[in-house]
């Protein structure tokens, strides 16, 4: 706990560097990644991330030191080269994009690992720490790195801001963008360059292996919460930054721990949380909605049973036992019991020693469901020419969904019929 407080107080200038650096690069990769996500090019980020490794190694081998400027330039060159090659393969052969990405990603990464191994065995003292590019080490960010990376991050954000309208358009409707004379090829080049730059500055903290997550996951998570692009970008940035700070903290407290996996874990948890709990689009929301519908159907079915029993013996308000109800319709006994007590709570049923009785409201609701069922059966036979013995199952569902407006239309269309296709009387409110 005290470690956390100390970390958050930013007393140590080193902490300040690390946190500023991680947050800036997390934000810029989340925002650039949002456009890749919307263009449905998620794998491209992964390809670039793996392809920068040989560039980093070559830059080190040629310069002999770990000056971030050299490393960034090296990373930039091979990252960019990989995208150009992927583009050319897709344009000039029958190979599709996913295959081309798979091919190039592994070739570049393999080359990178080869070079890295060679460097590690070269006995050059300056190489120590170069392997942190694999899985990232936020704590390794020192003063000069942070200045270089922060500058690039800010350039990235400014470029996205300037090109916001153009990047949005090419993500939504490329043909239209071409038709109004926008330089689509060049704009795509801008997005590609932004992607490479985001990866290049991100790998120090996250590492090449997991960098794709920093690009794509914040956007995927943010998409669950909003339908507005600007809000989505903002949320993606916040999610990314949060994961970044957390990663920096881990790196600060446990220097042996690689930062990348931690950042990716956090951002993935945010994504999972969004996936389950986001309003409207989340799984939980959908499940709750389904459950509510199931309950409504069950309740209306129970009231229908009461009404049908009443139809049979002419007394709608007499007591019914659970056993008598169960005879009319198969329903798990637990569901029947919980349904009965829920309907009582809502005032549609009463109960005493002898059993359960309908209230006036309960009878009306049961009657309406029956009415809709029979009207719908009639509609199906008359307008869809479905045989009378095939209409029941459909009506079992539709009776629960018809709105009062549709009900009125249905009555008028069928001219207030007396009976359904099975000659059962259609009950109207008196």
């Amino acid at each position: 706990m005290s470690e956390l407080l100390q970390f958050l107080s930013f007393e140590d200038p080193n902490t300040r560097y690390v946190v500023t650096g991680t947050v800036l690069l997390a934000i810029s990769s989340a925002i650039v990644g949002s456009f890749i996500f919307l263009k449905k090019k998620a794998l491209v980020g992964d390809a670039v991330a793996h392809s920068v490794l040989p560039g980093v190694c070559l830059a080190f081998m040629l310069s002999g030191n770990k000056n971030p400027v050299y490393l960034v330039v090296g990373a930039f060159i091979t990252g960019w080269l990989s995208l150009v090659i992927i583009d050319q393969i897709v344009a000039r052969s029958r190979i599709k994009e996913d295959t081309a990405i798979g091919l190039i990603l592994s070739v570049f990464f393999g080359l990178g690992i080869m070079l890295l191994t060679k460097i590690q065995h070269s006995g050059n003292a300056a190489q120590s720490g170069l392997d942190s590019f694999l899985f990232g080490k936020a704590a390794a960010l020192v003063g000069t790195d942070v200045i270089v990376f922060s500058t690039i991050s800010i350039i990235l954000l400014v470029v996205v801001f300037i090109f916001f309208k153009e990047l949005t358009l090419i993500a939504f409707d490329e043909d239209f963008a071409k038709s109004i004379g926008f330089p689509v090829r060049r704009l795509e080049l801008v997005l590609t360059t932004l992607t490479v730059m985001a990866v290049v500055i991100g790998i120090q903290a996250v590492g090449v292996v997991l960098m794709a997550a920093m690009l794509i996951t914040p956007a995927a998570a943010a998409r669950f919460w909003t339908d507005q692009l600007r809000v989505m970008l903002l949320l993606a940035a916040i999610f990314g930054a949060f994961a970044g700070v957390f990663g920096a903290f881990v790196s600060y407290t446990a220097p042996a721990m690689p930062t990348g996996p931690w950042i990716v874990m956090i951002i993935s948890i945010i994504a999972m949380f969004s996936f389950f709990f986001a309003p409207r689009k989340g799984i939980l929301y959908k499940m709750v909605k389904q459950r509510r519908i199931q309950k409504k159907i069950r309740d209306e079915n129970i009231l229908k049973m009461f009404y049908q029993l009443g139809e049979a013996d002419g007394d709608y308000f007499s007591s019914r036992t659970s056993a008598a109800l169960s005879e009319r319709r198969e329903l798990a006994s637990g569901q029947l019991a919980s349904g009965l007590s829920r309907l009582k709570r809502h005032g549609y049923l009463k109960s005493d020693k002898e059993g359960w009785q309908l209230t006036i409201e309960g009878k009306n609701k049961g009657q309406r469901t029956i009415k809709l069922h029979r009207l719908w059966e009639l509609y199906l036979t008359q307008y869809l020419r479905i045989a009378p013995d095939h209409v029941h199952d459909d009506a079992e569902t539709i009776e629960h969904i018809i709105t009062p407006e549709l009900e009125a239309k249905l009555e008028k269309l069928l001219e207030y019929p007396e009976v359904d296709p099975h000659m059962s009387k259609i009950p109207y409110e008196s």
Partner: protein, 264 residues
């Protein structure tokens, strides 16, 4: 029956377009008079969409050129509007109706400048013309097919162009939308704007258009509706591909031949 006109708004000259060396449009030569409401008619795979895409410079041409108002497309971009097929974009994109219609102003705005108040007003006017003004802030993912098509049309209207190319605007829309769209297109054509529509429903051709292009890889006919929309020409268009022509086309693909010598 290919009727050429003087001072055309659109001239397609010796246009050949191939996919993987196999021609899908072969030697198209046609001219369109200003103010026409044109239907491009032909069977599936006849190259209807390809024709307007190649006029819009969206696909590389094997040979020939297209000119609008006697100039090349790049000189007259802001007089030209293109409505792609509705299905070519992802309607789950995080954008509102207003966002999409405002894209119609981007051409006039150019790069880097943001839409201004006047652009929003133009977008609103366009939405009103297609009867979608009450959907301004609606998310595009919540629109029906017909509403999506209206939004696309509003985006085109916001461009305030003189010639409009629409790719299958009536595909998969409800009857009310179809009627609203054709009424609007007629009005535009009455105002002197040229409207060119890729269309696949033969039933409505006679009442919708006053100029017809019949297409099946090669140009079968281009001319006023009454003269072109005949049993004989339709039969020629829909009677299948010319066997010899498609055999030669397949040969070009198989041998990966260029379709003009200089293209080697």
């Amino acid at each position: 029956m290919i009727q050429q006109v003087d001072n055309p708004v659109l001239e397609v000259h010796d246009l050949t377009v191939s996919y993987d060396k196999k021609p899908v449009l072969w030697g198209i030569d046609l001219t369109i008079p200003q103010g026409s409401l044109v239907g491009i008619i032909g069977p599936n795979g006849a190259g209807k969409s390809t024709l307007i895409k190649s006029v819009m410079g969206l696909i590389p041409l094997g040979s020939g050129y297209a000119e609008l108002f006697g100039k090349s497309l790049d000189d007259v971009r802001d007089q030209v509007s293109y409505v792609p097929q509705r299905g070519t974009v992802d309607w789950d994109f995080p954008a509102s109706v207003m966002d999409v219609v405002l894209m119609g102003r981007y051409g006039k705005l150019g790069l880097f400048s943001r839409p201004k108040k006047a652009d929003r007003e133009a977008a609103l006017t366009a939405l009103r013309q297609v009867g979608m003004e009450s959907y301004v802030n609606r998310q595009i993912s919540q629109l029906s097919g017909g509403q999506q098509q209206r939004v696309f049309l509003a985006r085109a209207l916001a461009q305030q162009a003189d010639i409009y190319f629409l790719d299958e605007p009536f595909a998969g829309v409800d009857a009310a939308t179809e009627k609203a769209i054709i009424t609007l297109l007629r009005k535009m054509s009455d105002e002197g704007k040229t409207v060119i529509v890729v269309h696949h429903d033969l039933q409505s051709v006679e009442t919708y258009f006053n100029w017809i292009i019949l297409l099946n890889t090669r140009l079968v006919a281009s001319g006023p509706m009454e003269e072109v929309f005949t049993q004989q020409l339709l039969q020629e268009t829909y009677g299948g591909k010319l066997t010899l022509l498609s055999e030669v086309g397949n040969l070009l693909k198989k041998g990966q031949f260029p379709n003009r010598e200089k293209a080697i």
